[in-house]
């Protein structure tokens, strides 16, 4: 279970534990790999494809958040190819919904926005999808704006794995996929929501926010979910 292995990340030899993922090992050793759907303390789903890395001897790119390390594994976290793929992934997230940063409560504190900036996404090269999407304002304290949802499922996993309520899930498939609460009930009428607000804190974008904030005002406590999860493990 606690078998020690040696891996290489960007050339540097690092001691790790078998079963840890590439991303976990990288983070524990201050090696940066961009990630969006990953959140420490939640199960990893490999949904956003931002954490793709090159592994020596493997022809295709692998997601760092779901790939476990093994003895002798050699990982490359940056290359022109990785950069261009991550850029494409970000652009596709941006065109899929209506991310109008200029009027967003989370502008300036949004993980999607900062990753786009970091990758030099100054414009997108694909046509916008402009879906007609709603905003669920039925909850007394929180709002869900589908226009800004990237379907990373961090809220789904937070509510299911940390709060234990499993209010959210992803319905439909492909381009028609949507976040739903219960049987597509308005959030305010969800019978299992405890109004704990953890999903809001876990959401990387402005899709989930507290009510009452204006543009750029919604900041989130990013570490709360991970802290809760680690406290539970320690119990």
């Amino acid at each position: 279970m606690t078998e020690k292995v040696k891996v290489r990340i960007d050339g540097e030899v690092i001691a790790a534990t078998a079963g840890q993922t590439i991303l976990e090992v990288a983070r524990a050793n201050d090696k940066y790999i961009p990630a969006l759907c990953y959140m420490e303390g939640l199960s990893a789903v490999g949904a956003c494809r931002l954490c793709m890395v090159e592994v020596a001897g493997v022809a295709r790119l692998l997601p760092a958040c779901t790939t476990p390390v093994q003895e002798g594994l050699s990982v490359n976290t940056t290359s022109p190819q990785l950069h261009s793929y991550r850029k494409i992934a970000l652009e596709l997230l941006l065109v899929e919904r209506n991310h109008t940063c200029a009027v967003c409560v989370s502008s300036g504190h949004c993980e999607l926005q900062s990753l786009a900036q970091e990758h030099g996404v100054t414009h997108v090269r694909y046509p916008y999808n402009y879906p007609k999407l709603g905003v669920d304002t039925t909850h007394p304290r929180y709002v869900l704006d589908h226009n800004r949802c990237i379907l990373c499922s961090r809220c789904v996993r937070t509510c299911a794995e940390i709060e234990g309520a499993h209010v959210w899930d992803v319905a439909g498939r492909g381009i028609q996929s949507r976040l739903v609460s219960e049987l597509q009930r308005p959030w305010g009428e969800a019978t299992s929501c405890t109004s704990c607000g953890k999903c809001v804190q876990a959401c990387p974008t402005g899709a989930m926010a507290e009510k009452g904030w204006g543009v750029e005002e919604m900041t989130k406590r990013r570490t709360v979910v991970s802290r809760l999860s680690s406290m539970r493990e320690g119990m």
């Binding site: 299911a160 499993h166 209010v167 899930d169 992803v170 319905a171 498939r173 028609q176 019978t191």
Partner: protein, 177 residues
């Protein structure tokens, strides 16, 4: 077993049926899929009403959102009542180039159906009298026969507008009796 508050219960007879089907499938991997499939089969209008989904969630302990996710992920499940007759029009590439859009539009016109679609690629419309459902299919795998239409589960190839219209008229007359 969770006891999520149930806002509307299915008919008592249906509850019995659902309980029985859940009992039969319990413990099997992917039990939920099997349960939903059986329930839809048993439904008179071949769909899964919301009360049924809610009841299944309460009985199996699967979160409602997850039940809903499964029911909407698979194209085989319907959340709306289906018509007695089903006309499935292929909207695959081969059929498209052979005029399947015009066929679809013509049939919609004939049955007085209007798309409520929000640009969805998948169409599934049912007449208010529940006699006809028209739906689109991504490809029947019979592209050589394009355009392909399935009428009540029988495949028709090289479909001509007039022939299809006549066939639907015929079905309409039969079911009127």
């Amino acid at each position: 077993m969770t006891t999520a508050p149930v806002t509307a219960l299915p008919h008592p007879e249906d509850q019995e049926l659902i309980d029985r089907i859940i009992g039969d499938q319990a413990g099997r991997p992917g039990a939920l899929l099997g349960i939903l499939e059986k329930l839809q089969e048993h439904n008179r209008h071949k769909y899964l009403p919301m009360e049924t989904l809610e009841y299944v969630a309460a009985r199996t302990g699967v979160p409602q959102s997850q039940v809903y996710g499964v029911a909407t992920f698979y194209a085989l499940f319907n959340l709306d009542p289906q018509g007695t007759h089903t006309i499935a029009i292929c909207r695959g590439t081969a059929c498209h180039t052979r005029g399947s859009r015009a066929l679809l539009e013509r049939v919609k016109l004939q049955l007085g159906l209007q798309e409520t679609s929000d640009g969805a690629d998948k169409v599934s419309l049912t007449t208010p009298d529940h006699r006809f459902t028209i739906r689109t299919v991504a490809c029947f795998g019979q592209c050589a026969l394009a355009p392909v239409v399935e009428v009540d589960h029988a495949i028709r190839g090289h479909v001509k507008e007039q022939a299809l219209i006549r066939e639907i008229e015929q079905l309409r007359k039969e079911s009127a009796r």
